[in-house]
């Protein structure tokens, strides 16, 4: 049973990582996303086209993605979804076009935010660190990549 679930997760993960694809993030997607990466450390970055600080640091995320050593997931969380072509073009420009990408696609944004972190009111950027052991840590605000690498190393150390 466990093995079957794991296989399923790998298949989903492979699907999600296809270039140029944006998966709709709706009710229950957060659980699904966590399930896809269960047992592996993952970094989920919530960003938006309408978030200036997010766009400023996006190229750094692209650089980080190239040698992160952990799963990286980009979730576009503009309160009103921006057009998919604009989102994909922005990700591609930051060399994030091969990164698993989702987009908020439910107007009941309170519910999406609550499922991710009951204290989150949708401020961007937000980075959620999913530990190998199932731990969850929310970091609100722009990213300290040195700290992020420290966390990554702590998670990937044998």
């Amino acid at each position: 049973m466990t093995r079957f679930l794991l296989c399923l997760a790998i298949v989903f993960s492979a699907t999600a990582a296809q270039a140029g694809e944006l998966r709709p993030f709706g009710k229950g997607s957060w659980q699904e996303l966590k399930q896809l990466h269960a047992g592996r450390p993952a970094i989920v970055h919530f960003w938006g086209l309408t978030c200036g600080p997010c766009l400023t640091e996006l190229p750094q995320w692209g650089k980080f993605a190239s040698d992160a050593g952990v799963d990286l997931v980009m979730v576009a969380a503009d309160p009103v979804p921006e057009p998919a072509p604009s989102l994909l073009a922005t990700l591609a420009k930051a060399r994030l076009d091969h990164t698993e990408a989702w987009v908020f696609a439910d107007p009941y944004t309170e519910r999406l935010e609550y499922e991710i972190d009951p204290d989150w009111r949708g401020e961007l950027p937000l980075t959620v660190l999913l530990g190998r052991n199932g731990s969850t840590e929310s970091v609100l605000g722009t990213t300290d990549f040195a700290q992020l690498r420290n966390w990554t190393q702590s998670q990937t150390r044998p």
Binding site: C51, A105, P107, D119, E123, L124, L140
Partner: protein, 404 residues
Amino acid sequence: MHRYLYLPLIAATGLAAMTASAQTQHQHAGDAPACTGTGLTCSRVATPAFGRDGVLWLTWAAGGKVMVAHSDDLARNFSPPVAITKQSVRIDNGPDARPKIAVGADGQVAVTYAVFQDDKYNGRAYLSRSTDGGASFTEPAPITADTTSQRFETAAFGPGGDLFVAWLDKRDAAAARAEGKNYPGAALAYAWAGASEKSEPGATKIAEDQTCECCRLAVAFAGPRQPIVAFRNIFDGKTRDHAVVTFADPATPGPLYRVSNDEWKTNVCPHQGPSLAVAESTYHIAWFTNGQARRGVFYARSQDGGAHFSDPMPLGAGHRPERPFVLARGKQVWLTWKEFDGDKTSVVLLHSADAGANWGTPQLCAITRGGSDHPILVNDGDRVFLSWLTREEGYRLIPVGEPS
């Protein structure tokens, strides 16, 4: 089971008008937006204002247009909506942005809104006015000649009939950047327009520099030509806490007073600005913060023109409160906000009969299980209503009480 009491007037949700129609379809994750019309049911936001004659005015944005309608019977029926914008425009749809409407004592109506003028979300704010009871509106005109960026425009008629317009303006930020200087946020800008429909906003002036660029403003009046503006400021270049400025005269913004030391040191966009009401010289303010000193939604009041505020009073603690709104009439004060408990969104109401010194118990006013606008309080003389647009239920105008 529930710690809130239902308001006795909750049955008045029957006042709902313009409820979900064929125009609205439920949008499923991943679907293209199904709603393309200009009706209220295709809008995320609806902004109300009462005229002195008891007519309710409503503005919203849908299908690329800014729309206005009015109701003589407390939202049971609305006039045919009028489009303020003739062409389709890209309306500023930030979480704290909305088209706004103000009604003067003489029945004049002013509508303001902002559009995104480029792919960098630079805004252009417009004003349109009507002096014939909303039968016609002037061609929307920019509120300022500078084209850098304006957002969160807010217009209010002062007690003397003059129209005051405040907004967040990026011209100083752009100028600083051109000189290689650091300039966080945007400037708080303002202009006056005369009482007549023809008078365009006058020269733009800057009241404060380096204020938070992504949050709504709140405007009230201390005297006929003495506006009070509440806004999220940036203290010391990084702390996004709230402030008020009271004008000494039409051209002189008074000192900036800090509402509370929440210590929200952040470079995220909070997208949550303050709400302000002023009655009998008492300032009532409600706001959201995620600061190091306190987190959540809070209320405070000042009885010395904003120089000192009471200790922040937490609202809806533990229920993920957001989007507070305050309204004051004499010593009667109403506070509302919305909460989410993992299943439903609730609008909660709190009342004070002594200018905010003491408060009653929180009362549940309305719920929804879908996307919703911010809750807004609006008054028709002494009658106070909750104005709330939700995707599932449509527009609701719910009486919340009359002073005894």
